[in-house]
Symmetry: C2
Subunit: 549 residues, 2 copies
């Protein structure tokens, strides 16, 4: 059936671009120095362009090539990308190549992004959570060109995304089935792949990049840097939440607080009887700090959002735990794992930079736009979930006590020290995020996790159980009750906090039977990266910057 000309603008545009590209590339494969000319041929002004790159792997060579185009030819691009990580991502706006961006996470570029926004050097469509952004690529942010990154291609153009597949499948499907142009940088072109992840006919152009793609070992946390305060918080979380609700499928955020919990499974977790009863299934990257728990038999499966540098051999040797293909190597999948954390998981636990007195939290602090990443998707009550697990039912019983219709609920836990950085209080009366709304940058204050979605807050002072709070006043006092010596904590109503402690809505270490003196680094199943390597039987191969032995 030939297309109807009234409804065929996108594939006509594609055909014109491919014709222009034909002068530069005869087949699918490009020389590295042909990429910039190709991009000038296939990208039109105001096009919507995806550059692949989340908090881990980056299509860094293609980003560099895009920065090389002539702004007289290619300009006013609408960039769509999970993450703003590389300097090139923002240089595009300085050079007048791009003007608008929709994204999820800005990590290391957060300060520069804020300055450029304030200086009107770019327009932000909005900040998203990863999967939300991907779904818009299928609906209203249709990609004209998609710049992807993969490990290998074969000479027919089939692609192997492998261990760090991450977001590639979602991005390519949105582009290849909407008349977009797909360009892939690969580390290597081989005669034959041992596994095909993307069929050749979904791909337009492939280039072998001069260097392997950049990838961040984001989830590698050195046990040597964990403090006894973190051990104390981990003990409280394990005692007050893990051992109470016995969550079955769990997601941990990135950070030292949750990494400390991971290292306590084989010690304090064993003592609490968690083995085989809690945290058997995970939506999680292959955290090196999970190795002792895996080796000690706490873990049945881990379904990963991405890979983790140095964990390849360890992961690939454990097909019962990780998703391994017939070829013997893992394939991660960001979309599926994010949704696993959303729908299959009983609990999310992660950190943040600011929490207000209603429990709203944000990493968007003054002068810095970090974005959300996966947190809003993991860290919200999944109201479309229907299957019952003991943890989900128990949390729902507390949350909906007295409501006419019983309902389950996800555990959404924030774990923070009351002060962070240079003695910045984590607890605040009002989030810095309000400034961004007041200055007109966003319609509402950019909140990462809303207080309504949070079930517990863990600090070194104690654990607030917001599910047991019946009024906004009680929630506020429960939060103040664990906010320690911050101004928010000092302003607490002592009588109300005492009453909340009686009910278990606030638990201080002594209420949980935990003495601060117990919180020793000796409880960490590994005290160094070297210990993790030993636990792994030598299979874990940490990046050199983590090797200090």
């Amino acid at each position: 059936m030939p297309p109807d000309a009234r409804f065929d603008a996108r594939s006509q545009k594609r055909a014109r671009k491919l014709e222009a590209a034909h002068a530069i590339a005869k087949g699918k494969f490009l020389a590295p120095d042909a990429v910039t000319p190709l991009l000038e041929a296939v990208i039109a002004p105001t096009d919507t362009v995806i550059i692949e790159g989340d908090n881990q792997k980056q299509a860094d060579f293609l980003a560099k090539c895009l920065l090389g185009v002539d702004p007289a030819k290619v300009h006013h691009l609408h960039m769509c990308q999970s993450s703003i990580i590389l300097p090139e991502h923002l240089d595009l706006f300085e050079r007048g190549i791009a003007s608008r961006i929709d994204f999820a996470y800005a990590g290391p570029q957060g300060e520069r992004l804020f300055r450029m926004l304030a200086d009107k050097k770019l327009v932000i469509g909005d900040i998203h959570t990863y999967v939300e952004l991907y779904t818009r690529y299928f609906a209203d942010l249709l990609p004209d060109v998609c710049l992807l990154v993969a490990e290998k291609a074969d000479k027919a153009g089939n692609v192997y995304t492998g261990f760090s597949t991450e977001e590639t499948p979602a991005l390519i499907e949105a582009t290849a089935f909407k008349g977009g142009i797909v360009v892939v940088q690969v580390n290597e072109v081989v005669d034959a792949l041992t596994r095909v992840d993307i069929p050749a006919d979904w791909v337009d152009f492939i280039v072998q990049s001069p260097r392997p793609f950049y990838i961040e070992p984001l989830f590698t946390k050195d046990p040597g840097q964990m403090t006894e305060l973190q051990v104390l918080m981990a003990m409280m979380a394990l005692r007050a939440i893990y051992a109470k609700y016995l969550p079955r499928t769990v997601n941990h955020g990135v950070g030292f607080n949750t990494a400390a919990i991971e290292l306590l499974f084989p010690t304090y977790g064993l003592e609490l009887g968690l083995k085989g009863k809690a945290c058997t299934h995970w939506a999680l990257n292959p955290h090196p700090t999970m190795i002792p728990a895996v080796e000690s038999g706490f873990v049945e499966t881990i379904y990963p959002v991405g890979g983790e540098v140095g964990m390849e051999a360890y992961v690939n040797s454990k097909p019962d735990i990780f998703p391994i293909g017939f070829d013997g190597t893992m394939r991660s999948n960001r979309f599926f794992s994010q949704m696993c954390g959303h729908y299959a998981a009983d609990m999310f636990i992660g950190s943040t930079l600011q929490i207000d007195i209603q429990g709203n939290s944000s990493t968007v602090t003054s002068g810095r736009l970090v974005g959300y990443g996966g947190a809003p998707n993991f860290g919200c009550d999944a109201r479309g979930r229907r299957y019952a697990s003991p943890a989900w039912l128990a949390a729902g019983k507390e949350a909906y006590a007295g409501a006419p219709m019983p309902r389950g609920r996800k555990l959404v836990v924030q774990i923070v020290e009351t002060y962070h950085g240079r003695m910045q209080p984590t607890f605040v009366e009002k989030l810095d995020a309000w400034e961004f709304a007041q200055q007109g940058f966003f319609a509402n204050p950019p909140v990462m996790i809303y207080g309504d979605d949070v079930s517990h807050i863990v600090t070194e002072e104690g654990v607030a159980n917001l599910l047991l709070c019946r009024t906004p006043q009680e929630r506020e006092q429960a939060i103040r009750g664990v906010a320690g010596y911050t101004p928010v904590g000092l302003a607490r109503d002592r009588a109300m906090v005492d009453a909340l402690r009686e009910r278990g809505a606030v638990a201080w270490p002594e209420d949980l039977g935990i003495k601060e003196s117990q919180a020793s680094r000796d409880l960490l199943a590994a005290k160094s990266i070297k210990d993790l390597v030993d636990w792994s039987g030598g299979l874990y191969d940490p990046p050199s910057r983590f090797r200090n032995w």
Copy 2:
């Protein structure tokens, strides 16, 4: 890296099964009569087995073959399947082959399923929404064997899932990367595919089925059967909700009520000024009743959960609207489109069988277990969403008026007649779903959409806006206020309902400036299936049962 024997039980099991299979199948391709012996070789007792089949396409031949296995060899299977549609799906339990099931939707088998549950002939793990069930396949319901359905395979074993791709990508990824066995039935084996959807190395066995797979034209609603009551309700929905909030990305449920709305876009919708302002983007199957809206320029994109029988040529001719591959044919994707409806959409609107006085709804009625399908995922507030659209902000302003932190909100609309079937009241004081919990079949009453998530209820009596209700009492009276002559409606507090009408929380037709006499079938842009064919320029080819001219 060779696998670690302590963590390699699944691939060892796979290897043993493949060895046993070698006596039956020498290569990837099977004769139809070899399938049952193969299944006896590759399925072990208590295995977790997926049969593909949602509310549209069915792996019907493989389901029949599974029913043929010897229950002495293959028994106590844990079936995981989106839908229980075919008699064979339940026959498996009668014959002692399977004993436990996790699913999302049971449509036509709902009554038999209930009887078998009551007679203890099967155990239900739980009822899910589709994507929730898929995520569990990656976490804790690991498939040992997956029986899939596709259109074509080439002789190398690559597979084309095409127009009705639906859930195949999610199911195969969960299986192929967890040591499971993948068996695919295809309609046709060809020398070369025009597009590869699944690479050959993800597939273990392929059989050409004796007949093409069964597929249900679920979303084909004959305009000839639409009533003036449905036209009235559609007008009220368009006036009170679509024209007020201007939702940009939308999902419609299955049913005549929403199909009537679709047919009103080119008439009443045009009059209300919706063209280009609302409903430009859709997460939706290719509904034939959308043809007039597409042809009239109301629609920019439709991203489909599945295909629709007879819509192939029409859809494939509109690459701007639908996701079309380089080969010129569509690829639907249930996971991505469901999530598009969850995260990208401003509004869901659909029907149900029972609504209680808190707005909770269920299709699980006495003696019948229909399940949820996609409704809980579409029909809940997506609390992980962060991007702002005008509709989402406007709904949030109403919902969170006076709250300390502003937040957006999805519009979740239920559209029902006050009585359905044989004068069964749709509105009830208490859902039948309670019986299922009380009898111990489920931990909580199986609710399809929770009242907390619902923003509006539309009936022939009026529109209740629950976002404007500030107390449970107000919500209850707003619901009673549109419940008409049902006992729930008759028990309303007239003074409270009047006060709610003043505030716009209840709107009767006259409050919306709609006269019942206006609600004529003449407003339907198509009055018959034949009209839809005409609108399509002859490209829509309805199934024969819908052809009456």
